[in-house]
Symmetry: C2
């Protein structure tokens, strides 16, 4: 089975763990700090590898030093980065994230618009098992999802918050919509995740899951909606938890598991991640997820 | 004339300019952002070059990717970095800085203690015009200041806040003490900068300047204390303003100017810096300082 091609964001996050978030000027000594290449698609790709799958990344970076480090770090984690686009003269995306011990964050992201200019062409999908796209590089996501559908492989959309027209454009291209609660609400106008899942399934006629963090996940099966609760954990860092869920989902889907097992696996992987500091660096291995589910 | 050898801090700062500092969790989109190799000694060295002088850096970094970028960036700015020590297995220092439009900051620094372990030996001072040390790598500062005194060249101490015993140890080695108001108060117990300057001059018998930001600078001459006011500017970023003052001081001193001109030059350079975003990247050229003084 070939790689899952993840399409979208690639940014350098510096995450500081603090006793508490600052509320006024001054110096704050962190309990811990890491610099980690992530962004949704990149975090998903690296986590797919950790979960025992195969992943490739189609993302866009500048041709600066940060871009070099982004590609090097994701490559070291076993992801095929040969499709990553480097934009001449552009700055790569980066952000600083201050996080308290309960996982509350202040996020200061710096993205240059040049990074997300439309791509020239969609990468060759020969041998690719599935495409999973986030909403941060819309023109590329649209091309890749459409090409996946045409190739008869899963076209998974990570529908997180973005402009409503971007979201509506992309959901129409997906064979599997895995949406955050807030994005599902924005697209459908329905407040409750269950109702939003209904409306998405009704309008687009494809598989839909709506994730609601600690409240679990609503997903469609045989014309109905099922709910899978999130495992109860003491969350200290929810950063990239959604990406870990998506990675688990894509791994299970391409391995042909029943949907109930896929959602349980993705939910457990995300729950474990929430107990560990460091954004996507806290993602579990497949063995850890299986042990967690068994326990 | 040879280079001024700057001894001490070298860290990677990521500075975000924000409309206002965050007071609660959430996402904050910055007005601007830069990643800049600085730290006191490194910022001083790079600014000396910009002010028309020659500079070398003796600092300590890890052998990680951040260390590579620190050395590369300071080298590109014209500083001789051949003396920079790389500590095997250690992480380089870095920090994230959130700054509002009036220059108020939240600073989150991450330094590894291994970086500031004592050096094996003091670098060869042959051809060096002066040594200027900050307080962030105390063992190296002590060696370098003592070697400078022995070699008959200026041994300038940038006495900024540090543990009181570190400060007392280092001021005893300097031929020129340029102290911040708060450090001068810590060493001497005197609240007012003028009184602290008196006590330092009295105890150590060397040239003393005490800087007090927008309140100007008190300095010793012919057994008396003089005050030079800070030029009035609209400050938007005071980060590294002290380093720019020190750089101007060292340039003037090694060029043999009268002290009044040195202090006026350093004060003007620091004032210009305060009007520009980006830490030490806002340091002026010599021509800019001279035009500012003439105007």
């Amino acid at each position: 089975m070939g790689p899952i091609l993840c399409v979208g964001a690639l940014t350098m996050d510096t995450i500081f763990r603090l006793e508490r978030l600052p509320e006024q000027p001054g110096k704050v000594i962190p309990l811990d700090a890491v610099e980690v290449a992530e962004g949704m698609a990149a975090a998903q790709a690296a986590t797919i590898v950790r979960l025992g799958g195969e992943a490739a990344l189609w993302a866009s970076a500048g041709d600066d030093g940060i871009g070099d480090r982004l590609v090097a770090q994701i490559s070291e984690d076993g992801v095929d980065t040969s499709r990553v686009r480097r934009v001449a003269g552009a700055r790569s995306g980066f952000s600083s994230i201050l996080m308290d011990q309960t996982g509350s964050t202040i996020i200061v992201p710096r993205y240059a618009a040049a990074i997300t200019s439309p791509p020239d062409a969609v990468p060759d999908l020969a041998g690719v098992a599935a495409v999973m796209a986030d909403v941060r590089w819309p023109a590329a996501a649209r091309l890749a999802l459409a090409a996946a559908k045409a190739a008869g492989i899963p076209a998974i959309l990570d529908a997180d918050m973005a402009a409503a027209d971007v979201l509506r454009d992309l959901v129409a291209e997906a064979t599997h919509i895995v949406a955050s609660e807030s994005a599902a609400r924005l697209i459908t106008g329905a407040d409750a995740p269950e109702a939003a899942a209904w409306r998405l399934a009704d309008e687009y006629g494809v598989f839909v899951a709506v994730t609601a963090g600690a409240h679990g996940c609503w997903w469609t099966e045989s014309g109905g909606i099922r709910h899978t609760p999130a495992p109860e954990v003491e969350a200290i860092d929810t950063l990239a938890a959604g990406d870990v869920f998506h990675a688990g989902f894509a791994v299970g889907l391409t391995e042909g598991w029943p949907m109930q097992r896929i959602i349980a696996f993705a939910s457990a992987a995300a729950a474990i991640k929430c107990t560990r500091f460091g954004g996507r660096l806290g993602a579990p291995t497949r063995a850890e997820v299986e042990a967690f589910i068994a326990a």
